[in-house]
Symmetry: C3
């Protein structure tokens, strides 16, 4: 299976052209869009979001990941292998957290080039064909050469005390793993203290709560209301932990 | 075929994870997303929307339906069979109208449980595997046990005189079946009287009209403009019928 | 392959019902949504957007195109063949630019009718079955009869000096082919002069630039910001070229 993690949006032409390329190169491989609204042009929060969601997929899955503000510039194009999953995308930190948490990891720089490579859409022209060929069984070594991991230069923390995603319901995911926090820890966001709760329905309507979401991230929500607008939360906003 | 009726949104991780689960459990069954923006956390208007759209699908279709504000609480997880279609989701009224309008209907409570069941995402962990197994041919009796229909306790009306959905064009669908209204009936929404018309192009630009939409619901629209913003319509807003 | 070019949106019921119809009539043909947010009810800018993006698909592709404000009125339903691709949709100018730029082109009026044809949703009831049958190998002559091209009556220009699409990042595509402009031409939009640049990262953050996008259209963007809100650009807005 190929899973897409991008900031392309679904309605516009980008996801559709990537899907068409994947179907063309690997006709029998199922493709799902995991996130089409990853933090736009922001690899750092995207890296924590990806790390939480990618491990839900079975080993062997190819994750095509494009949050790529440097497209057309000097950043490398890479394949990262981590615990049996393959990640294809730009080398801008997007795979740093996935690799750090993996038992086993390798990095390749993509050396294959398509006949036509646009300056602004490597997702379609470069990353999608590579992802499709990996998913169809081609070895990474046929498309890429071993490369050095440069994540040390970025030195991002193990967990990110920031909002990394606002979902369709207005819930705000943080870059913090819920299981690493004290069970009675409070989160502080925008000066507001937020207590833990097991589920929405455990709290009175309109009350803020945090809980460990179904992919392990500490998530801030309101029962029966939007947390983002009520608490004025946005991607990149800082969160503090009060033990 | 499996059709999705949810309030998950398409861009975020929820529809993608459900799609991945369905592909994994029932690899050859086609999946389409019918609604990913059903009335958020509101089973009542969702029930009338679902009843209008589900019957368009051929018998044998499995509808995976998740509008589930009580997830993690005490509500039952059910399979409803109605006129040869299967509906999988929470027992919160979502299937009441489908069942009431069906010639033949049965209800089961889902007894199967996955190895891992998150507190907040039964759509992915419980309902999707059950829907996939039904679509792959497994009998409901293997996954669920016969259950009593509790819709009488809710006593929702046969048709709902409210806005139940605002579409991409700003058209407002009501929970009223157009064919049950007098052909010259007027609808009143937000104090505005709205006359019937056969099609958009039958009315002058900017004029409000109602018509029976392609799935049988009475729908309020403006020719060449958005009805929702112009008439200030929102899901849950009351509609009156003047015969 | 079937590619969808519509103004239906993805979340609502329209794209899902079209997808279900396509799967039903042509079960083994892959379907991708290219645009679900083409300029709403505006065939003219849509025609330039379609012409730029359709030619990216291989010959043999069927493009199901529905931007159809006249649905239910007198406009013809057509199949256009242009350079080996098939376009199915309303005869309202949507295919004028595709046909004008093609080496070889033919037009048919769809004579086939479904058992049930709703007044407001020809995309699902008429165009989708025809597109699926063409994609499954049925000849156009079995579904339609040769028809006269009426594009002369519209006399739209070869390139459209207007914004035709705003993407997910806030970039504004024009209806101008970038390669036909002088390499140092400036675009003027909303009184603002915009210089050309090869890629985003060639410009300082916050600076406006235009470039030829990955499908050949001149596109206005800001490095690290939204062009649409910053420059107040919208579909239909005029653009001037200063050579």
């Amino acid at each position: 299976m190929i899973a897409l993690f991008t900031d392309f949006g679904l309605a516009g032409p980008y996801t559709g052209q990537v899907m068409a390329t994947l179907h063309h190169v690997a006709p029998r491989v199922p493709v799902v869009s995991l996130f089409a609204d990853a933090p736009s042009a922001r690899p750092k929060p995207s890296a924590y979001l990806l790390a939480a969601y990618a491990v839900w997929f079975p080993p062997g899955t190819v994750l095509l990941c494009v949050v790529d503000p440097g497209v057309g510039g000097a950043r490398r194009a890479v394949v990262a292998e981590a615990d049996g999953r393959f990640y294809v995308g730009p080398d801008n930190g997007l795979f740093d957290i996935v690799q750090r948490r993996a038992g086993e990891t390798r990095l390749w720089e993509i050396s294959w080039r398509p006949e036509q490579l646009s300056a602004s859409f490597h997702g379609r022209d470069l990353f999608a064909p590579v992802a499709a060929r990996l998913a169809a069984g081609e070895p990474a070594a046929a498309l890429a050469k071993p490369a050095a991991n440069r994540s040390a230069s970025r030195a991002w923390p193990d967990d990110l005390a920031e909002i990394v995603y606002i979902d369709h319901y207005g819930n705000a995911m943080t870059g913090l793993r819920g299981d690493l926090l004290a069970q009675d820890a409070r989160l502080v966001a925008n000066g507001r203290k937020i207590a833990p709760a097991a589920t929405f329905s455990a709290m009175p309507p309109g009350e803020a709560l945090w809980y460990t979401n179904s992919n392990g991230l500490a998530e801030i929500a309101l029962n029966s209301a939007r947390a983002d607008t009520t608490l004025e939360l946005a991607i990149g906003g800082k969160v503090m932990v009060e033990a």
